[in-house]
Amino acid sequence: MKTFRFLTTVAVIAMASALAAEEPVQGGTLNAVIQPEPPGLMLGLIQNGPTQMVAGQIYESLLRYDTDLNPMPSLAKEWSKSDDGLTYTFTLQDDVVWHDGAPFTSADVVFSVDVFLRETHARLRASLVHVASIEAPDDKTVVFTLNQPFGPFLGIFEVGTMPMIPKHIYEGTDFANNPANNTPIGTGPFKFQEWERGSYIHLVKNEDYYLEGKPHLDEIYYQVIPDAASRAVAFETGQVDLLPGGSIENFDIPRLTAMDNVCTTNAGWEFFGPHSWMWLNMHEGPMTDKNLRKAVMHALDREFARDALWNGNGTVAKGPVSSVTRFHEENTPDISFNPEKAKEYLAASGYDGETLRILPLPYGETWQRWAEATRQNLAEVGINSELVATDVAGWNQKVGAWDFDMAFTYLYQYGDPALGVARTYISSNIAQGSPWNNVSGYVNEEVDALFADAAIQADDAARQELYTKAQDIIVDDVPVAWMLELEFPTIYRCDLKNPVSTAIGVNDGLRDAWLVQN
């Protein structure tokens, strides 16, 4: 009995020590990599990846999302939805001030969404067509009234989608040329301090942040290192502590993660749900043949690509909706690797042996090798193909002009099919000049109707039913060849605690991160 008590005591002490060890510590400097260098940090004007990664610490939105995509408080402490799904009421946090000391109020929210972002933010603008009015009955309350129910409405309050912009600085100005764009002012946990172009961006702790005790870090340096191998070296030599997902080539990941005191996580991309596929050109040419598209789909050894090229990171896609996105359907028609089936579909197709043009995504070695592996997969079942080399601008131009037979891409899904999936498959979204719409040229009126209907349902069960049907039809039609649900490991020194706690990872998570002080 005594032994039991002793062991219990030891266990309790050990647990207490462990908990104490996990207690956030104040202070410290975090060195992170940023690549490429962002064009600017004004998140209302620029929403590319690197801008979001840095500016996500400076700006905030009304909500954040956990890794299951459940909304959490941010600048809004509470929110409610009316029974008819038409009215959303947000109550703002108390004592929030902008980095220049001015108070943050509901008038800032109305200005940000209804004036600034409606003008500048292409992706949000598509969702705002559902919003009839935005009102501020008092300083702490904002009411959004919709034209009709919009299922994913609570999913558009992420900081990259709806950053809050200071009304007192931007109202009545030329937004794009406002001098304040060079010294961004938000409400976030870190303030902009300095940007030495080509070298680093320096953020410092916001001492007036409205959450007691946060942020924990004193400052963050985002270091601009253009070469992937040099970024790996910078981490190896201890000059940076955090490599956000996608910072280094995949073949360098095992070497770095094998080092002492190095941690890694694949979490923090759930909101984006990066989904990769090959566009199959259905406008004209051989890929208009459904049997050939099915032959291509079954010819692709995606497990090999994941294991050999992506170091085992990623999930083989089952269809258009990623498994981390809401309303994913697991039991879609079979599109697995099956060379024999591919040959049967090829025999049934009108393919006459012509050479198909594959456009790799010009984003580095992994993508190039993936295109080479795909070409080999296709050759093994009797489909001839060639790789067409381009740079990023050329890729944009060729994909937008439908100048390819197959073209690699990946797009974000933003947590909900209505926000990031429908755009790829609905026929009203076919237009030359853009590589982010329905590039394949897929037309199916039933799918159009299902997506349109599902977006305006307030009830999740009804939406699931409609999206399941849509996914079944799309997978059977194979307008694109789905590849992998991509995962980009975030690699960091284990002394850095809690860098990823939300569905957008290090883009807004450094508020809660801290460094163990040695």
Binding site: Q47, G49, R197, P226, D391, P435
Partner: protein, 323 residues
């Protein structure tokens, strides 16, 4: 001589204008435009977004109008606005210029001093194992791709030995001042400047050696020997001075590239210079930045060509007489 310089300067202005027009046409002929690249980075775009960007940057104007607008600005030294970096191109280039000058000028000095010295030594020791060793090392540096040398140098001296920083221009966050800052920047400069310098060192070495050997077989050297002059005097006054002509030509060419930066070295070592700026601008189709860097580089090449011609006259009196 003054007339010669004035004529060359006038010619240089016309060449510069022609280069500007040619660059403008070539860059606009490449597929894709900056609006599409910027929209691509944002991950989504609608027609309004693209149209707004094109209007803002004047990309919706007819090609001839865009060219006219650019040329009108350029002759007033207004290099335009960077679409992606969202700031004036001149300011951007001015910001990056010190880092580039420091890197390329250091590499220039390293390569000339090491290259010419090694070339002279090899020529004097022709046929010995010293000559073979120096020539072989030079050949290796000349034949090895620069980016590979850069990566290996970084791996060896930064990761394995831990002696030198592997990237960047300074220790970020250290906020050094005075001598400490000079030493810090100097430490960061060693790897990129040596890597960049080694390639040119090899060229200078081979050129100096070949030129020295050629000159030393000429009649006036035999005459000098017959006069009983000491070998060191013959080598220094007669052989080296005459052998330097091709070296000066090469130095002029290298000096012309000083302002253009070193794309590979700056990229691998994250050196915040103009070469890297240009590389990024090309992939982003940031037309004005590309044109701005090309403009400055072309101007420098023309200037150093002129300086080279003048130096020729000083080193070789026959040329001075001819002009």
């Amino acid at each position: 001589m003054l007339g010669f310089i004035a004529a060359r300067l006038v010619k240089a202005v016309f060449i510069l204008l022609a280069i500007l027009v040619l660059n403008f046409v070539l860059i606009h002929a490449a597929p894709g435009d900056p609006a599409a690249v910027m929209a691509g980075e944002a991950g989504a775009a609608d027609e309004k977004f693209l149209q707004d960007l094109r209007e803002r940057f004047g990309l919706d104007q007819p090609f001839a109008m865009q060219l006219w607008t650019y040329m009108r600005g350029a002759v007033q030294l207004d290099l335009g606005y960077s679409y992606r970096q969202q700031m004036p191109v001149a300011e951007l280039i001015w910001d990056r210029l010190p880092a580039t000058l420091l890197l390329t000028a250091t590499a220039f000095v390293i390569s000339i001093v090491l290259g010419v010295t090694a070339g002279v030594l090899a020529a004097q020791a022709q046929g010995t194992w010293w000559d073979t060793l120096i020539s072989a090392v030079a050949l290796i540096f000349y034949a090895t791709p620069l980016f590979w040398v850069a990566l290996m140098a970084s791996l060896l001296f930064s990761v394995v030995l831990g002696w030198l920083p592997g990237f960047g221009y300074q220790t970020i966050g250290a906020n050094y001042t005075g001598l400490d800052r000079v030493l810090d920047v100097g430490k960061h400069l060693i790897l990129p400047a040596s890597t960049l310098g080694l390639f040119f060192t090899a060229i200078y070495m081979r050129m100096t050696r070949a030129s020295m050997l050629e000159v030393s077989r000429l009649d006036f050297v035999k005459t000098a020997r017959a006069k009983g002059l000491r070998n060191s005097v013959i080598q220094r006054r007669h052989v080296l001075r005459n052998a330097l002509l091709p070296v000066i030509t090469l130095a002029g060419l290298q000096a012309g590239q000083i302002v253009g930066g070193a794309v590979l070295t700056e990229t691998v070592f994250a050196w915040p210079g103009i070469g890297r700026l240009m590389f990024e601008a090309i992939s982003q189709r940031d037309y004005n930045v590309i044109l701005g860097v090309f403009f400055i580089s072309a101007a420098m090449v023309l200037l150093f060509n002129l300086v080279t011609d003048i130096l020729y006259g000083i080193v070789d009196p026959r040329i001075r007489i001819a002009t």
